[in-house]
Subunit: 185 residues, 4 copies
């Protein structure tokens, strides 16, 4: 019997699969929310259910991984440009319109989860580095902490997640103005 089942590409495919899963997960989460059926992710990735579970044993695990990956991109960006916090914030505010859903992560991950703590730690480090240096602080006023920025971004994300797709850009713009006023002189 010739099974129509996708060929088992063996262990070598593991890395490929992981990448495909992360991409599929991000797309699926953005489109259907963090409660999207997991099999939808597996299907979109062209990967078996079981493989998804092997790579990410829980829903939380894959969400964390996607978030982590996105944060990685942000870090890379920061590392490359000699940017001020203004520019970094602008970039974050821009990107968040599309991936706000990932911030729902906090509903899932227990805040004591070491992976989450690690991710938050990296974000804080990123921000503290800029805040601590007058030349890179941009127009952010003294006294603003990394946590303040973190909370601001979180609030924006929180609202965007309740906002219908097409209204997001306009809502984001108005909120950004409010938040900058809160954070800048």
């Amino acid at each position: 019997m010739s099974s129509p089942r996708r060929a088992n590409r063996g262990p070598a495919a593991a890395a490929e699969n992981r990448v495909a899963l992360l991409a599929a997960a991000k797309a699926t989460f953005v489109e259907h929310g963090l409660d999207a059926p997991l099999n939808q992710i597996a299907r979109a990735a062209g990967v078996g259910q079981g493989s998804l579970y092997r790579h990410f044993p829980t829903r939380e695990a894959i969400i964390l991984a996607v978030f982590d990956e996105n944060l990685g991109q942000l870090e890379a960006m920061v590392a490359k440009v000699d940017s001020t916090l203004d520019e970094l914030l602008a970039e974050m505010f821009d990107q968040i319109v599309d991936v706000a859903v990932l911030f729902e992560l906090f509903r899932f991950a227990d805040s004591s989860d070491p992976r989450l703590a690690e991710i938050i730690g990296r974000l804080y480090a990123l921000l503290d580095e800029k805040l601590g240096d007058d030349s890179s602080r941009g127009s952010i006023r003294r006294g603003v902490t990394a946590e303040d920025i973190f909370l601001s971004v979180g609030m924006l994300a929180g609202l965007l997640n309740k906002t219908p797709e097409q209204e997001r850009p306009s809502v984001a713009k108005k909120c950004r103005a409010l938040l900058l006023r809160a954070l800048c002189d």
Copy 2:
């Protein structure tokens, strides 16, 4: 027989049931989010599944009812005291810590239920009334619109919904400071 069917308390229980359902719904939503199983609400209210559906034919209907009830309390408060917007905002920020989940209601914004529009209208009216009058604007700066306040509250609620129970007061306090800075002179 194993299952002693709950006594049929008759039509007289209708009003009681409605109240019990609303209370149970609020508690359940606060604890488990707006996607909480409806049967859990019915059980918590000590009411049959069917009665829940009779009183609130859709999930949206019961969410709206709970929200409406809370909004009513807010309006009552405003009506009583000759309050400034500062006080109104303080009240809202206080209350929202406990019922932030209700703001998830706006996920249903594309709903055809006219009551949602009505509720939003009432909220705006509440705010516009205060904003339009210099003597009641408090320390809110000129140029702030009802929408700005609405968005601020929405952002706060959005973040609180992702925040674990015990951290909410502290998060709320910090966010409140940020938002007031955004809204006041």
Copy 3:
């Protein structure tokens, strides 16, 4: 408290209610089939659920009553006109397009049910009366029994019940031609 509940018109309304229920039942069955929710019938009749149950304790009971009533109309028609069987058949074939659903009755009523037996008996009597008399037999061939006619009508009804609304007239016409060929010389 003024109860918005329909006034209890007392025992006097019993007869009225029964009539309203039968009419509503017929309309509801025709439109939604014999499995239509009973509360739909009560509502259409403007009558409480309980009253429906008082008049017709089972679904079968109300179906039988509707069927019976329709048969009564047929009998009345036969009694009035000095009709041949041809005309009677034509009438039945005509009417059945609209009320074929009532023949689903046989799926519900146990054939040993005395009420059903009584109804069938009346139908047979109606037919036998015409068949037995050469002058009223019309073009129906000798040898055809009341049962043959009964089965023919039943078959037609059976098919019509599976036929989408708008195709019924055309299907009925073709089947009628076939059945007449079976029953006539």
Copy 4:
């Protein structure tokens, strides 16, 4: 533990399961009609509820599959013997006593499922092939169309579906006589 979850027999069981489901579905439909609970079919097949839905995502799908299978048997029979339409009809009339319920399938006639159209097409082709050739038409009179036969079979099925099990053979016999008279010279 109280519920010894059925062993997961693995993907290899897929084919077996499909067969078991079809058999169970046929039996269940015959006994309880096309509205029989699907979980009853799953249980009868010794298969999980989810597997039923995997194989047949809708009720219509499984009905179609059962019907298709039966039609396949009919076609096979026709293909083998060099039969006349008389014989084909006899076979159909015989078989229909047991599986009349499947003809309820046509309640789904407005379905968008192309397989239904395909099935009807095959039935018509089967009949047209015989009708078009004088040597195979048997005693069926000229002028009879495939549709006439289709309608006849449908009418018989419709009636049998309302007929209690034990009376079906006798009813079928009488109706068959009537219908043959309608279709033959």
